[in-house]
């Protein structure tokens, strides 16, 4: 079980709370791409809001954090730390702080 923290606007859009729990394929690597695949399957309204529909590129002002580290620029296919994969720590999706 993976825990994911969503930014406030996406909670509203998905009609869910701050944290959602996802069940990923236990035999596959736990990566940001895998997390987002399951997240978007569970909450289809989030498709296109975190990453592009076609290219799957992260939207420029969305950030991914794991274990207090910004992993936004890592490959989305890089395995997440064990504490994320085991659900002890959440995977954070943030809207970048920008604008006025």
């Amino acid at each position: 079980m993976i825990r994911v923290i969503l930014p406030p606007h996406l909670r509203t859009l998905a009609r869910t709370g701050k944290e959602v729990e996802l069940d990923l394929d236990p035999d596959a690597p736990v990566t940001p791409s895998a997390v987002l695949d399951v997240l978007e399957g569970m909450y289809p309204t989030l498709r296109g809001t975190i990453r592009d529909h076609q290219t799957k590129q992260r939207r420029p002002m969305v950030r991914f954090f794991a274990c207090e580290r910004d992993i936004s620029h890592d490959s989305p296919d890089t395995p997440l730390p064990d504490v994320i994969a085991s659900g002890r720590e959440p995977f954070w999706i943030l809207g970048a702080i920008s604008g006025g």
Partner: protein, 371 residues
């Protein structure tokens, strides 16, 4: 009993203002989608309970919503806007080629006959159509791939397709306008397009009479005269009486012919409304006076409508989709400002009163006449 429903899109959510036919007492509902930028909401003319809404965010991109109960509840619908075929390039601000990139939906235009069909004008400029109530969208790519497309350039607000007008007599005829490419017409339901900019003159482009490159801000039509269109261009208020084949200027005695919205009275096809703005570098009304100008002669002769509007120290703007009319017996006129006011007139503009004063900056105002 008749009434009106005013759909207001703002920088931080949508608001729905409702009243009976007297239009004196208003119920304010919202914010819907609080915190999100709501570019445009518009109801179906054949099913007033069906409303489409465009929600855009620099962070989370485009999302689309639909209500089937007059805006009481909403469901998220499709937000995948993919350009068809080879994407190609348009000109960037500096004149270099720049690939088309979808950014947001500026304008929604529901079909005149089918509540499940709706058009979306988007940035970078293209026209999309949904026939399943917004679940899926298909580009009408003949517009973007027009032979002039590689010469289109964005205006200051982006290269947006902001105006879509469906001909009420000829179901195959569609008009669109793009900033800063100009106006285009299709006579085959959106497959092929013709620039209809002859007569427009724009001093800010090298060839003032160019086929494309004109910064059209808004277009309006009265349904009883589908060959007559009125245009608020960047500068100049224009008119055509032959479906865009030739335009002529009708700015007349306006204090400034710069502005954004333009509307036509519901029952008087020669009565037109604009909101003069001082200049493209000063996006506020001349002399700090918020004045709607009305022409009852189809242009050229304009009168200032000031009763109930601030006539000193007012420096708001009125954006291109932030003006609308109702079709009650006494035509109502409505507009919203970047200062968060929504003004209404129940007497064709003779007198005005604010419905609300303190909303976030208003981006769009559309009115549904409920009978």
């Amino acid at each position: 009993m008749s009434g009106v429903r005013v759909l207001v899109g703002t920088r931080k959510g949508a608001f729905i203002l409702t009243s009976d036919e007297r239009r004196k007492d208003w119920d304010v509902s919202g914010p819907h989608f609080g915190g999100w930028e709501m570019f445009h909401l518009k109801g179906s003319p054949v099913d007033p309970n069906r409303i489409y809404a465009s929600q855009a965010s620099d962070w989370f991109g485009q999302t689309m919503h639909r209500s089937d109960d007059g805006g009481q509840t909403w469901q998220t619908v499709g937000n995948e806007f993919g350009y068809q075929g080879e994407v190609g390039t348009h000109q960037w601000y500096d004149g270099t080629p720049h690939p088309w990139e979808f950014k947001r939906v500026w304008h929604l235009e529901p079909s005149l006959t089918d509540p499940d069909t709706v058009y979306a004008g988007v940035e970078d400029a293209a026209l999309f159509k949904s026939t399943d109530a917004g679940l899926t969208w298909t580009e009408l790519s003949g517009l973007r791939t027009h032979s002039t497309g590689n010469r289109w350039q964005p205006g200051a607000g982006g290269m947006c397709l902001h105006s879509v007008i469906l001909d009420p007599v000829d179901p195959n005829r569609i008009y669109v306008a793009i900033s800063a490419a100009g106006a285009f017409r299709s006579d085959d339901g959106g497959a092929a397009w013709t620039p209809v900019n002859k007569g427009l003159r724009s001093e800010y482009i090298p060839d003032e009479d160019a086929e494309v490159g004109h910064c059209v801000h808004n277009i309006a039509m009265h349904p009883s005269r589908p060959d007559t269109l009125f245009m608020q261009k960047h500068w100049d208020v224009m008119r055509t009486d032959n479906a865009g084949d030739l335009w002529h200027e009708v700015s007349g005695n306006l204090p400034s012919d710069f502005g954004f919205p333009i509307e036509v009275h519901a029952h008087e096809p020669e009565t037109v409304y604009v909101v003069p703005i001082k200049s493209d570098s000063e996006h506020f009304p001349p002399d700090g006076k918020l004045r709607v100008y009305r022409s009852r002669t189809g242009g050229n002769e304009w009168e200032a409508l000031t009763n109930g509007l601030p006539q000193s120290d007012c420096y708001v703007n009125v954006l291109r989709d932030a003006m609308s009319i109702d079709s009650l017996d006494s035509c109502g006129v409505y507009f919203g400002t970047t200062g968060g006011q929504v003004y209404a007139s129940a007497d064709s503009g003779d007198s005005w009163a604010p419905i609300v004063r303190d909303l976030p900056a208003v981006m769009s105002v559309e009115v549904q006449t409920l009978r």
